[in-house]
């Protein structure tokens, strides 16, 4: 043994040494030779680097001559030069005919080189490429299987239609070749051909031949067939190409043991799509897959993990095997972390998912995620993330010690994340909170600027999780106020000061110091500062009035930011009307922040677990969200967890709700109307441009109120807080520009929107909104709405006379509009309208008027005349008014139409905060002539398929997705006139929410 060892030492020595020698030798010869002319021929044979250097003019001509040389050797050299030029991106396509001429040769290397060239340039020279076809066809019959395979492989790579036609016959032969090497090459060729011409592949029946190859006797052929089918299936999500049944699964599992590592990946990924019939089958597959966990190829390991993670769902938890499997999963995952950093990164992203789904697998492996000094930054950040996910009471001490160490590292990004991680630990593991806070305080003491800022941001979160527990540290935080220069840190600090204003003696001074540069701050800080000062004011009203006035005027008057202004107004209004309410609102108890805000949402997580090892798992997004080219990716779900074995893609459970009477009409959202009023595009003299300076008495009064309020505020002659209410009045002078004129009603509405809408369904009568304010129409105020009653569209209006004189002789006219709405009769105002008198009118409308496309689509411009003048206004009607009663489509027709309408016309919208279940929604919509044709339930998600028809015969098809417990609905609309989608969506929202 001793002797052996010695021999061995020598050999291993030369194992490395010889390689070096070969290489050095090459260099030693080439280096001196290349410049020396007499040795040039010899030297130039040694390496290919010379191909890079020929840049002189006429190179192409020279090559051409060489390619046509009689000498074989010279030809080959020339082709090599051409290939080398090609690889570095030079254009040598001009040599195409000359190179193709070299194709008919027995020299395999030359043949291969020519093939390489062909693949690259055939596309640009399709006519010339035809010349090569004969040789290809001949080569496919060659006795040497290597040449047969090479020919069929190369033909598949030539992406020229004319050539693909000739490819079919040779390919068919090769798929049935006696030599498995040829068969396996041909299998991949089918995928290539499908990529070029999918129809051809289907017509020629290659897919069936490919399916047959899954049962081939050679495992390599099986693996390639699976790979080709998987790739083809990606572009045909519903084609059922990989029809997996227990027999094929068995074949695949057998092939799995014998094929190459890459083949194993394809087979495992394919297995992952299978749903076993019962837990027994699931277990037996798991048993046969587990040996793959010990494979040297990490991609095989991860694909095996995917299969196991998925099939584990079906195993009963009390099964012994379940526990064994859990234990077996940990070591391979840990091993992945000792691979190259790029592999580590992908592994870590996947482990992140696995840890969320089954934390028990890695709960004892915390230490392998400790960051090493020379890990690349992307690995470090991922490791940190997982450390926090694994942190528990048992290991928190270790984790904290590590994190503290990281917080003193060099890399700024990493340090920041480490500090943040300490905060997250505090929030996650309650017992550790105290230790985390003291660690953070230690870090603040280092005075390293970015560490301090980051620490303050996380301490804010800790305060929100454990209120009234760690406020003793505030003093320390306040010491660092001046060093904060990042918006997030400043905002966090301001929040802390505002929240704990009563415990900080000089809170007002602190906040005041921020106020000086108010306009240079970022929005985040400005908003926070506004809120903090209002909090301070509510807590210590006596000393801080000046401050609060200052900030309110800064926010509302001097700022261009609408968010800031709105918040300013709301606070102002609140403080002025009801300080008690203000207290309730501003100082309300905040919900505790949850410990796992960053967890992936469970349904997404389930889907991602099915995609372990894929790009989806790296991005933590479902494949449908980003993978291009995979038209209609199927959503994968873990088995077991979702009971329904839904597979059909047609809506199959129809809802048989009858048509209810008295369809509830819907008003568009108030905001739209208000906005529209401001942007009147009619041009009568009275309403041109922005709202003119207030002229009516009422408006003046409002102005006075504002002005006075502001004056008195700024004057500071207010006694105590109870008196404040009167003093604040309303928002200051800037207001009229941003609010519609009917202030008195409008503004109140703004604050109690939705307070008065709670009418019973069916008999719903939408509240009217003001279309024409009195001040614009010499005292005539018109408010109104649209409704569809018993199949007739009606415009219901209230005319109010706010002038001093009687109004008579009313008439109405519409401008041309998108759907040809026109009054079906004259405006029936029979009696004169006296001062301060109102009259209700219902005007039936027809849809046969002149048509002109409006912007927005449902805009209606109206002119109303009376004895005084003509007034113009515009309003928007909800498009649901135009939904006719016979808008229910046949199911078959629906399906066909849905498929027929191009996908580009599909529009998707979200409806937020809707708390109806799907049935209620369906019947509610039915009232407005939106007909539910079918309903199906997939994993707790209800899909309603609906149709509606507009008065002008446009059909709109909709798919409404409702998930129990999720207040956000998704509507997909398909219509041949896609421009109506937006309006239909708005109506949907309005219909569902009323």
């Amino acid at each position: 043994m001793k002797a052996d060892v010695d021999v061995f030492a020598n050999v291993t020595q030369s194992k490395d040494g010889s390689k070096n020698r070969v290489w050095e030798g090459t260099k030693a010869i080439t280096a001196p030779c290349s410049p020396v002319t007499e040795n040039r021929q010899f030297g130039s044979k040694m390496t290919d680097s010379k191909y890079f250097t020929t840049t002189k003019k006429g190179e192409i001509f020279e090559l051409k001559a060489e390619l046509n040389s009689d000498k074989k050797e010279k030809k080959k050299e020339a082709v090599k030069k051409v290939i080398a030029s090609m690889t570095v991106g030079k254009d040598v396509s001009a040599l195409f005919p000359d190179v193709v001429n070299c194709m008919q040769t027995d020299n395999l290397e030359l043949k291969k080189l020519v093939y390489l060239y062909l693949m690259n340039y055939a596309k640009s020279q399709p006519d010339m490429a035809i010349m090569a076809v004969n040789t290809f066809v001949k080569d496919c019959e060659d006795p040497n299987p290597l040449i047969r395979a090479l020919a069929v492989r190369t033909m598949g790579c030539i992406r020229v239609d004319k050539i693909t036609e000739y490819l079919c016959e040779p390919l068919r032969k090769c798929l049935k070749d006696e030599d498995p090497y040829v068969r396996k090459t041909a299998a991949v060729c089918v995928a290539k051909l499908h990529d070029i011409n999918a129809q051809l592949v289907e017509d020629q029946g290659f897919l069936d031949t490919l399916k047959d190859l899954i049962s081939d006797s050679n495992p390599m052929v099986v693996a390639n067939a699976v790979a080709a089918l998987s790739e083809i299936a990606e572009s045909h999500p519903n084609s059922n190409l990989l029809d997996l049944n227990p027999q094929t699964i068995n074949k695949l599992l057998t092939a799995l043991n014998e094929c190459t590592e890459w083949g194993q990946i394809f087979i495992l990924d394919c297995l992952a799509n299978y749903t076993p019939r019962d837990d027994r089958e699931s277990q037996s597959i798991c048993e046969r897959v587990t040996p793959r966990l010990s494979h040297a190829n990490s991609a095989v390991v991860l694909s095996a993990v995917k299969v196991l993670m998925k099939f584990m769902e079906m195993l009963p938890k009390d099964l012994d095997y379940y526990g064994t499997l859990l234990k077996k999963l940990a070591p391979p995952l840990v091993t992945l972390l000792s691979a190259e950093p790029e592999l580590q990164y992908v592994a870590l992203r996947n482990i992140n998912l696995i840890v969320q789904r089954r934390p028990e697998i890695l709960k004892h492996e915390m230490k392998v995620f400790f960051v090493k000094y020379n890990d690349p930054i992307y690995v470090k950040l991922e490791k940190l993330d997982i450390m926090i996910r694994l942190a528990s009471q048992a290991n928190i001490a270790q984790v904290l010690a590590e994190l503290k160490e990281y917080a003193t590292e060099v890399d700024v990004d990493f340090v920041r994340k480490a500090v943040r991680a300490i905060g997250r630990c505090a929030i996650k593991v309650e017992q550790s909170a105290e230790r985390c806070v003291s660690t953070l305080l230690d870090l603040i003491q280092t005075k390293v600027n970015y560490v301090v800022q980051e620490a303050i941001v996380v301490i804010k979160d800790i305060f929100r999780k454990y209120p009234n527990k760690y406020e003793s540290v505030i003093a320390t935080l306040c010491e660092n106020l001046d060093s904060l220069d990042e918006p997030e840190a400043r905002a966090a600090m301001i929040w802390i000061v505002g929240e704990y204003a009563e415990r900080i003696d000089n809170a007002d001074e602190l906040l005041e110091s921020f106020l000086e540069g108010f306009h240079d701050e970022s929005t985040q800080v400005q908003l926070q500062l506004l809120t903090a000062i209002v909090k301070l004011f509510l807590k210590k009203p006596t000393e801080t009035q000046e401050l609060v006035q200052q900030v309110l005027s800064l926010a509302t008057q001097d700022s261009d930011n609408p968010d800031l202004r709105d918040r300013g107004y709301i606070y102002w209004r609140l403080l002025s009307t009801d300080p008690v309410a203000a207290k309730e609102v501003v100082l309300a108890e905040k919900p505790l922040i949850s410990e796992e805000t960053d967890l992936i949402e469970p349904t997404l997580l389930e889907e991602l677990i099915c995609h372990i090892g894929t790009l989806a798992s790296v991005y933590h997004k479902p494949p449908s969200a980003f993978v291009e080219g995979s038209r209609g990716v199927q959503h994968k779900r873990l088995p077991g967890s979702a009971g329904s074995g839904e597979s059909a893609d047609s809506p199959d459970t129809g809802s048989a709700a009858g048509v209810s009477e008295a369809p509830p009409a819907v008003i568009p959202s108030q905001g739209d109307l208000l906005g529209d009023l401001l942007n009147l595009d009619l041009t009568p003299p009275t309403t041109s441009g922005p709202p003119p300076a207030p002229s009516s008495g009422m408006q003046m009064g409002a102005m006075d109120l504002l002005g006075g309020g502001l004056d008195s505020l700024l004057g500071g002659d207010l006694g105590g807080s109870p008196a404040m209410g009167a003093g604040f009045g309303a928002p200051p002078t800037a207001m009229p520009a941003s609010f519609p004129p009917p202030v008195s009603g409008g503004l109140d509405d703004l604050f109690d929107l939705g307070g008065s809408v709670g009418m019973p369904m069916g008999a719903y009568s939408p509240p009217k909104s003001i279309w024409l304010p009195a001040m614009k129409a010499k005292g005539l105020e018109i408010s109104g709405t649209f409704a569809r009653r018993a199949g007739v569209i009606q415009m219901e209006m209230t005319l109010t006379n706010k002038a001093m004189s009687i109004m008579t002789d009313f008439a109405i006219q519409f401008n041309r509009n998108s759907f040809g709405l026109a009054p079906a009769g004259p405006l029936q105002v029979l009696t004169p309208v006296g001062p301060n008198q109102s009259i209700e009118v219902a005007l039936p409308l027809s849809t046969v008027g002149p048509v002109m496309k409006m912007e927005p689509l449902t805009n209606l411009q109206v002119a109303v005349k009376n004895n005084i003048d003509v007034f113009y206004f515009s309003s928007q009607y909800p498009i649901s008014m135009l939904f006719v009663e016979d808008g229910k489509m046949e199911r078959q027709v629906f399906l066909a139409t849905w498929k027929d309408i191009p996908n580009d016309n599909e529009a998707q919208f979200q409806i937020k905060d809707c708390h109806l279940n799907s049935d209620a929604a369906s019947s509610k919509l039915q009232g407005s002539n939106v007909f539910t044709i079918a309903k199906r339930t997939v994993e707790g998600q209800d899909m309603l398929y609906q149709s509606m028809k507009l008065t002008n015969g446009i059909w709109v098809l909709a798919e409404l997705r409702v998930q129990a417990g999720n207040p956000n609905y998704t509507v997909s609309l398909k219509c041949r006139a896609p421009e109506v989608s937006q309006c239909v969506f708005q109506s949907y929202e309005a219909m569902l929410k009323n």
């Binding site: 052996d4 060892v5 061995f8 030492a9 050999v11 291993t12 070096n20 290489w23 090459t26 010869i29 044979k45 390496t47 290919d48 680097s49 191909y51 074989k72 050797e73 290939i83 080398a84 690889t87 570095v88 991106g89 020299n107 290397e109 390489l116 690259n120 040497n144 290597l146 992406r159 090497y181 060729c189 390599m220 790979a227 790739e231 990606e234 190459t260 890459w262 990924d269 010990s294 040297a296 991860l302 694909s303 070591p331 840990v334 000792s338 950093p341 592999l343 990164y345 400790f370 090493k372 930054i377 992307y378 590292e409 090892g613 790009l615 494949p623 980003f626 993978v627 291009e628 995979s630």
Partner: protein, 444 residues
């Protein structure tokens, strides 16, 4: 599947491109260059990048980026593994994976890439198979080829491609039959300031060099196979026999290959061969600091520690170092702020020490970032986990081969957290500290 491959050197030039499907313009690499710019260090470029129409997956090997472009959902690990395989193959063929070598052999590389992937599907990645189809260049062959006009490309079907042992070619013949195994273990460890192990594990690998005639069937058994609970094998190893008998049974590939990787993570099994006593201190005011490092043997199982080297990444503020080493030499790189102390053999009788002063930039505040200390070492004839091969048996062939096993332990990522004292005011406190240390030393 894999669509295209670009090879990019460290200056950002694309010097080779290969497309397995349609041609994708080089402009797609701009997204990569952007990320490269942002990452500052080439090691820090994220391996998976998303562009509007493609995904870029890259690895960094031998100062080169191997950048692959993919268009559909492909397992990224699959791509990364493949790219490493490309780099391995180039290394295997030409002895080195560098820009120069690839340019020197560009046509061979191109042929190799063509053989390795077909339409993005891996075709032949086993080096045995590839070498049968495309012969690696040797001086002799080049000369012969030049004279006779023979080519580098084999014209027979590689036999391994379809057999049940795709990794081995048939008809192998040697006059000297030999099988050697290297058991190489790397210690990855993090020690805290007091020398306590924070984290330690062993990454082990068994590299084999087998040159045996015919189709030998080998069985390798260990004295203590229970150490190995986390293993990954070369595809040739029969997993069933490992599960049931804890022996490695396999028909070996011809030549050099990695038989298995293993991982020992239970900490009590990981011996830490050296200890480090260190102190680095700076003054709050004044432009200087002190450094004092001593290394001694801890658990070496009676073997000598060789190739000892200490690398310290100094805080950015440190300008220069004026130190004395009792053994070995030290260098301090001003640009990277890396102090390297090359010690060599560790003599337990006379512990190596490095001591002296550090100059920091005048006027700057005290260093903010903690220095880090990494150790490199080698121990011959020892597998630190205690793993031992007991025997190697050969079946299926009649001759008697030479056999040998060698052990080697190295430091992998071996890192020690450092004390860094900051003295607040003046020299007095420092002197006090020195004195205290002195007292402590003598009292021990």
């Amino acid at each position: 599947m894999i669509h295209s491959l670009f090879l990019i050197n460290h200056t950002g030039d694309i010097f080779l491109e290969k497309h397995w499907k349609s041609v994708i313009g080089r402009s797609v690499c701009d997204y990569f260059f952007e990320a490269r710019e942002k990452a500052v260090e080439p090691e820090n470029v994220p391996p998976v990048l998303q562009t509007p129409h493609h995904y870029l997956i890259s690895i960094y090997r031998g100062k080169l980026f191997f950048l692959s472009v993919i268009q559909t959902e492909v397992p990224p690990l699959f791509v990364i593994e493949f790219l490493h395989r490309v780099a391995d193959t180039i290394q295997d063929y030409f002895g080195e994976c560098s820009e120069g070598v690839i340019k020197d052999n560009v046509v061979t590389v191109y042929e190799l890439l063509e053989e390795m992937l077909d339409n993005g599907f891996p075709l032949a990645t086993e080096s045995n198979v590839l070498k049968e189809m495309i012969r690696p260049p040797t001086i002799l062959r080049s000369v012969v080829n030049t004279l006779t006009g023979a080519s580098n490309v084999g014209d027979t079907l590689p036999t391994g491609q379809l057999s049940n042992v795709p990794w081995r070619r048939v008809g192998v013949k040697y006059t000297n039959n030999e099988a050697y195994f290297d058991v190489i273990e790397e210690i990855d460890a993090i020690l805290d300031k007091s020398g306590t192990t924070v984290f330690a594990e062993i990454q082990g690998v068994i590299e084999a060099c087998v040159r045996l005639t015919g189709m030998p069937d080998l069985t390798l058994s260990f004295m203590n196979p229970r150490l190995l609970d986390d293993v990954s094998f070369h595809p040739c190893v029969r997993f069933k026999r490992w599960e049931s008998e804890r022996v490695l049974s396999f028909i070996p590939p011809d030549g050099n290959f990695t038989l298995m990787n293993y991982h020992v993570s239970s900490q009590n099994l990981v011996a830490i061969p050296v200890y480090v006593k260190q102190s680095i201190s700076f003054f709050e005011t004044g432009p200087c600091g002190r450094l004092d490092i001593t290394i001694g043997p801890k658990q070496t199982m009676g073997k000598t520690v060789e190739g000892l080297m200490v690398t310290i990444h100094m805080p950015k503020a440190v300008l220069s170092a004026n130190l004395t080493a009792t053994q070995g030499t030290y260098t301090y790189d001003l640009a990277t702020k890396v102090l390297v102390w090359d010690i060599g053999k560790l003599n337990p009788q006379k512990l190596p020490n490095l001591k002296g002063s550090l100059t920091t930039q005048a006027g700057t505040p005290k260093p903010e970032d903690n220095p880090s200390l990494n150790i490199d070492l080698k121990i011959q004839q020892l597998a630190i986990s205690g793993l031992k091969v007991s025997r190697l048996d050969m079946y299926g062939e009649k001759y008697k081969p030479f056999k040998g096993v060698k052990y080697l332990t190295k430091a992998g990522k071996f890192q020690i957290y450092i004390y860094m004292f900051i003295f607040l005011e003046n020299l007095m406190s420092y002197l006090l500290f020195e004195w205290l240390q002195c007292v402590l030393k003598h009292s021990i």
